[in-house]
Subunit: 414 residues, 2 copies
């Protein structure tokens, strides 16, 4: 068995076309489907218009076995998905008591009153199987049409994820047989894509047919993704690992992780294993460093906390940067960065302190220190040092790139 | 003139289908196109396969006037877009000296050596007009095909944005006439979508034909978007403002902004106008609050900085929360939150202090204080008070929702 089950993802909503929200649903769905061997062949976003919905349903079922639809199921008037699906199948709408009871209970728990619109939410096309939505009011709907499957889900990410995890993915696995797909992600930093490609060219040319390589560049890092497709999972694992072992010596210290984890996760694992504690002092990154760390469950085992020192006053009074330093060298200077890293380490009773100070932009640059001038510093148990970065003119890029750089530099010291 | 110019956006890359990157390009493009009156009718993501690319180009030109393609132009082997576009038009590839010189100069500036792959990057389909990419190596390409236009751009967001801003959008405006589109966004909080819909039902039913309303719910906020399409911009502006004035009394204090700005932007404007300063003390939000504030250019005019106190030790030593408080009531308590907000205000010499402390999860909950138990506090020039939130089991939702709640509460006090 080596045939693919093809999936198409359709997101409905004018707000996506107008760019007023980012579609994160289809990324999450792609990841989860891929893990269990379904092949996403296309993702389409269309507007809330009857004709567009009818067209895409018809097109999609020609290409794919499974059509997953999100969006357009809210209680308000701009959502016409459900009625259009009923028309597509040529069926009526039926009132579904269990769905209505679920809505009523959700509203009771939140002390809200039901409206007439909520009653309409309990209507579903008569050929659909209801997928109960325990975390919201709009139900999911499953339609079998020959060996094709259509599923409609609300666009609220939390509700879509609940329905996918508890209903859709398990039922798809029952209905379709799928090949094995094995991915391996290697994360590199400090080497541009074209140089990397040349470095590993011979290795790449000798990859077996059933293993594909992709380069995924992002913020100065390149992720390498190996994908093997076949029948026997053990064989695929073996073949991929064999290739990875050949590749690793070519990558050297540019390789920082052999899985798709962020650098902060690598740091967390190392620091917890070694019993080390971290503190952060942020000026230009303004809390993003702390946020990236504290997004991870379990971070309190190694992260003591930090200071966001956005004014010179705070750099002096809270971080103990000397007044003379701020006056002579300025807030964006090697000397300030060094004191920030060392002092936050001491004050927060930690083994490592890291610090950022720079001109994120768009304003605040000078001829001597243009926008994008950033100092990062690290204080280890044995030394404190600083490094100058020359970044871009764009505030958000500078904030993110500084955060990546200081995390990578910390990782080098662990 | 009232005909629409239809645009289709195509993003190419297996990594998008596999869910390994989020497509943020098409959102940005949708926003920019919409501003100048082009109507995006569809967004499609497909894989890096020749057949898929040929199919979608052919389908898209049947529906749209302008086809904008991003992705698949990198220097490495998984990218086949350029060659396939040449085949689609039935033309050869030509070496383009100016593109090569640009690549060579970029590499000189970064002290890197050119590889053979970079030479291939300077080849373009012979019927394409090159759009010079000053911020990267892959050129943009513009193809006129009757009154249809195809544009191919690299997938790196910074490069795509450079090409769109400097070449594509201005040239599209020259080539096509477009109707006027006027949007107005109203942001509400604290009222669920279905209740909101009922509240404004009569008003909505009386909207003129050429004005459309959409509900955009997100994290406990609902944005209302009014869209008017027509020939005369002055008339559209007038008509939309008239409707907004009718709507506002119905929304009352649930309306927090009359434009699509985040709550932190509303706060920044108010605090700078009033000459007020802010400090933050974060436990469970772990820096996100500071990051949301410092993402905004100009924030140093009102934000002094903050403390991320992830350990009890830091809450006591850096924030001055009393040991007895931490022992008797715990770190997640009204008493701790009150001291955090008040002390950070004093220490950071600010007018307002806001604080968060809670159990973000997934672990760390108890029967008395389950995951999702969060205290937020605010210290104004005249009083300090705290509020209990009962949130969800999901760490990321709790971090974001706490941040939104404390910002909204602060805004209520300004």
């Amino acid at each position: 068995m080596n045939t693919h089950t093809y999936v198409e993802i359709i997101t409905i909503g004018d707000e996506i076309l107008y760019g007023q929200i980012t579609d994160t649903n289809s990324q999450w769905m792609g990841t989860e489907l891929n893990k269990i061997g379904f092949k996403v062949i296309r993702k389409t976003s269309i507007g809330d218009t009857r004709e567009e919905i009818l067209n895409i349903l018809d097109e999609a079922q020609k290409r794919a076995d499974v059509i997953l639809i999100t969006g357009g199921l809210g209680p308000t008037k701009d959502d016409i998905t459900k009625k259009t699906i009923a028309d597509y199948f040529g069926v009526d709408m039926t009132f579904h008591q269990e769905v209505y009871d679920n809505i009523a209970e959700l509203f009771r728990n939140r002390n809200r009153e039901l409206t007439e619109l909520n009653r309409l939410q309990a209507e579903v096309p008569s050929n659909g199987k209801v997928l109960m939505n325990e975390v919201g009011t709009a139900p999911g709907m499953w339609f079998d049409s020959g060996n094709k499957t259509f599923v409609s889900m609300p666009g609220v990410p939390r509700e879509m994820k609940f329905l996918m995890t508890n209903h859709v993915l398990p039922q798809l696995q029952k209905k379709y047989e799928t090949p094995h797909i094995v991915h391996k992600m290697l994360r590199t930093m400090g080497i541009p894509e074209s140089v990397l490609a040349q470095t590993i060219e011979d290795w790449e040319n000798n990859l077996p047919e059933f293993i594909k390589l992709a380069y995924l560049p992002r913020f100065g890092q390149v992720r390498l993704r190996l994908t093997a497709v076949g029948e026997d999972k053990t064989e695929l694992d073996y073949a991929i690992n064999e290739q990875v072992e050949l590749l690793k010596p070519l990558l050297g210290d540019k390789l920082f992780a052999e899985e798709d984890v962020e650098i902060e996760k690598v740091i967390m694992d190392k620091m917890i294993t070694k019993g080390l504690k971290l503190a952060t002092a942020e000026s230009c990154t303004g809390g993003l460093l702390a946020h990236r760390i504290t997004k991870m469950a379990g971070c309190s085992a190694f992260y003591n906390g930090g200071i966001v020192s956005y004014s010179n006053d705070v750099k002096h009074s809270q971080l103990g940067v000397l007044k003379e330093t701020l006056e002579s060298y300025g807030a964006v200077s090697e000397q300030t960065a060094l004191q920030m890293a060392e002092n936050v380490k001491e004050k927060y009773n930690s083994d490592f302190g890291i610090a950022t100070t720079g001109i994120a932009g768009p304003d605040g640059g000078t001829e001597e220190k243009p926008v994008g001038t950033v100092w990062i510093a690290i204080s280890t148990p044995t030394e404190t040092k600083a490094k100058l970065l020359q970044l871009t003119k764009q505030r958000e890029v500078n904030i993110t790139a500084t955060t990546n750089n200081v995390l990578q530099w910390l990782n080098d010291h662990l």
